[in-house]
């Protein structure tokens, strides 16, 4: 049962609750870094790592420090603080031990500091804990959800990088060139993800 729910959470985070295409979080890197496939993948991996780490830290802080003391209204500001610190730490560690990865990620790592998708993952997961679900939403579920959100981000970025590659060679009317056609394309990709609605519930019936 536990594994079943974990798979359901993972798939839901990628497909039905895709943070970029369904919840419209993290649009800035989605539009900014999806021009080239290489940088899109690099950015997505960085985002995934930070999402999982951030959830791993913020979830216990929320459950064991904020809620018992009635300070849950502080979650936004504290989470931003924690995420910013974490990104810095990841940057220092990468610089020391994997300089090649540090160089290829370049500017993307510090950019994640203010990425709302990361903040969204850490905060929205807390709503699920309090809301009534068919199963108990645990720390492990939150971590899997964060990992799935990162992979979902990767899927969205890679797909969109492909779409933009096609756009490069398309004959686009002058008034739509650049950002307008990119936004139109993003809207269509997002619309296509609407097709996944209810997909996970049907695939893995719970309860």
């Amino acid at each position: 049962m536990l594994i079943k729910t974990l798979v359901a959470v993972f798939l839901a985070a990628i497909l039905t609750e895709n943070y970029v295409l369904s919840k419209f979080l993290g649009i800035c890197p989605f539009l900014g870094v999806s021009k080239k496939l290489n940088s899109a993948v690099g950015m997505s991996i960085a985002v995934t790592v930070v999402m999982v780490l951030a959830t791993a830290v913020t979830f216990p802080i929320y459950t064991y420090l904020l809620v018992p003391n009635g300070l849950d209204y502080l979650q936004t500001i504290l989470f931003i603080l924690v995420i910013a610190g974490l990104v810095q730490l990841v940057e220092i560690v990468l610089k020391k031990y994997i300089p090649s990865l540090y160089k290829s990620l370049g500017i993307y790592l510090p950019l994640i500091t203010t990425n709302c998708a990361v903040l969204g993952v850490t905060m929205l997961v807390l709503q699920k804990v309090t809301s009534t679900t068919a199963y108990e939403y645990t720390y492990l579920h939150a971590l899997i959800n964060a990992f799935g959100a990162g992979i979902g981000f990767l899927v969205a970025m890679v797909m969109f990088a492909g779409v933009r590659g096609k756009l490069e060679n398309a004959d686009i009317p002058k008034s739509l060139k650049g950002l307008p056609i990119t936004l139109v394309a993003a809207a269509l990709v997002s619309l296509s993800f609407l097709g996944f609605a209810g997909f996970v519930d049907k695939l893995i019936p719970l309860g």
């Binding site: 300070l71 924690v82 810095q88 610089k95 300089p99």
Partner: protein, 273 residues
């Protein structure tokens, strides 16, 4: 009142405490995992223009700065920064700058719409690299400029533009980064020193009759310029004349005798500065 105050204080303490903790962890981490910085390379990077064009042969300015700091590269390889940049780099490294000659890109083609024509109508992708792949290109001259502006898109300095079907370099803006040289699918753009010298603006390697048919200003390899040149600076190879800018004394004899008017004169007096 007291309980409100204490809850505010507690909240503040929690945020401040976590902030302090993170700060502490970060500062410890930055000391423990400090990476020794290459100070020389950073000083050099500040001097370099930051164009990241790769014309020096390294991966961008930081790559060149690192190679310079290790003594693996010479100063003055940066065509964008030119002489002043070479001097600054030399000052950082404490070596002699030597001499650098300013260069500019030149499109060796004058096949404008009035001089040559297309052998077919091209409706495909508006890109030279695509057009060049279809039946040797649509231009009557299989060596000439396609005029679809790949070089124009590649140029970060707004120095090359397509006028009347042929790309022309504005040497005032050109930084000789050679991005257009690499982009041109015909390979007709090259770097030349900025110097008063004659230059053959044709790349057609066809024999005389074919070259003449393709373009009004095509070099037919007649060798008249080669024979006329007093400084023996001109060599005709593969039916096209090449003028060595180092040997050219700027007498303009070749410009006058060229029956096709494919040789023109690079006049530095026409440049600004």
């Amino acid at each position: 009142m007291n309980s409100v105050l204490s809850s505010v204080l507690f909240a503040t303490a929690v945020v401040a405490g976590i902030g302090l903790l993170i700060g502490l962890i970060l500062s410890i981490a930055s000391i423990v995992m400090a990476v020794p910085k290459n100070e020389k390379a950073e000083a050099l990077l500040a001097v370099l223009p930051g164009a990241n064009c790769g014309a020096c042969g390294f991966s961008g300015c930081s790559g060149y700065a690192e190679a310079l700091s290790k003594g693996e590269a010479k100063v003055g390889l940066c065509p964008v920064g030119g002489e002043s940049c070479a001097k600054d780099c030399a000052a950082v490294l404490g070596v002699d700058a030597g001499e650098t000659v300013r260069q500019t890109a030149v499109v060796r083609c004058t096949g404008s719409l009035s001089n040559t024509s297309d052998k077919a109508q091209y409706m495909g992708l508006q890109s030279c690299s695509a057009a060049a792949r279809i039946g040797g290109g649509v231009t009557a001259c299989t060596y000439g400029c396609l005029g679809l502006g790949d070089c124009e898109k590649a140029c970060p300095y707004d120095a090359i533009h397509v006028y009347n079907g042929v790309a022309v370099v504005n040497s005032n803006n050109c930084k000789a980064c050679s991005l257009c040289v690499k982009t041109c699918p015909r390979g007709i753009i090259s770097l030349v020193p900025v110097k008063d010298a004659a230059i053959n603006l044709c790349s057609n390697k066809d024999k005389g009759a074919a070259a003449k048919k393709a373009c009004k200003t095509g070099c037919i390899g007649c060798r008249i310029c080669e024979k006329t040149c007093p400084s023996k600076a001109i060599k005709v190879e593969n039916n096209v004349a090449f003028i060595d800018p180092d040997k050219c004394i700027g007498c303009k004899e070749c410009v006058t005798v060229c029956p096709q008017k494919s040789i023109s004169y690079f006049d530095t007096a026409l440049l600004k500065q």
